[in-house]
Symmetry: C2
Subunit: 186 residues, 2 copies
């Protein structure tokens, strides 16, 4: 699994600094991958050691210097190979803390669990709103849909998935709340 290859992919669109990458990642793969800045810097370092990246420092006087990374040909090869490796992610719903808690929620009162679901719904609504609004503006750093017509379709696919996912969460949570309220009434 790997942020690693996500970074390679983004850098293949455009040379960037770690700081830029954090923002680019949030704006592009952020719907399904939450990247930590500290990890980004670590990965960049590691990949430079591997020879997958090279970097140049841009000196600035009024702001901190910027270290700009570029993918080498061996880095791009590694990326392409990763893309071809068998995609069988075992179904990718294989670690959900929230579901774990729900599973054991019989320990709590019905009323309390309704509140938990309502909180969950709020979070989903926020996520959905973020995804909808993001859609209107284009991707940053020169990665526009016009710029990358072949890629844009796949960007939409992942976007659609994320949206559909959070909508599913909302309807599911509504059903759960309905069932719990029914129990309260009886």
């Amino acid at each position: 699994m790997s942020l690693r290859f996500g970074l390679l992919g983004l850098l293949s669109y455009q040379d960037m600094t770690g700081y830029d990458l954090k923002k680019a990642a949030d704006a592009t793969i952020g719907g399904f991958w939450d990247a930590q800045a500290s990890q980004i810097y670590r990965e960049l370092n590691y990949m430079e050691d591997l020879g997958w990246l090279t970097s140049v420092i841009e000196f600035q006087t009024d702001r901190p210097n910027r270290r700009i990374y570029s993918v080498t040909s061996s880095g791009h090869q590694a990326f392409l190979q990763w893309l071809l490796e068998n995609h069988t992610d075992k179904g990718h719903l294989n670690k959900s803390v929230f579901m774990m808690k729900i599973f054991f929620s019989g320990e709590h009162s019905t009323a309390e669990n309704i509140r938990v679901f309502q909180q969950f719904k709020k979070n989903c609504e926020i996520k959905l709103a973020e995804l909808e609004s993001k859609n209107k503006q284009d991707f940053p750093f020169g990665m526009t849909r016009d710029n990358h017509p072949d890629q844009a379709l796949y960007w939409e696919f992942t976007d659609n998935f994320a949206k559909a996912y959070y909508k599913l969460c909302l309807t599911w949570a509504n059903d759960c709340v309905a069932a719990l309220e029914k129990r309260l009434a009886s």
Copy 2:
């Protein structure tokens, strides 16, 4: 975070060995948590050090001895506290290798990507079939729905979620394939 509490939860239903826990986990929380046996044993050890569990060895002659774990009161307290901690899992679609690959799939040919989606669909269908069949039999180790009426509703909630999730994956993948075929035709 954290198989640990899942194990505590299951042990609160019934005393068990690590081996039993692996099977119980697969049968109960397996829809949304893939637990490794090696990690189970490590966690059991660790929790015994913490004083959250105690264990007794059951000697057997014809088979390996069994180490049976029970939750202590401090273990149960830790479990309850975890349940109450704020549930805000940031949305739990925050790490998907599959989506990462799809996002960057513009590098491949349309035909190849159609095959990738078809493989994905097959995996989802298998998962769905597993979930449907599991439903018919009851949970193992005395954890029946009649036995735990308060819990059973929440078990169903997580079950419903997993099923709805894989169904969503299927319809999404179908839409993607349709879009790709349309592109092939034009």
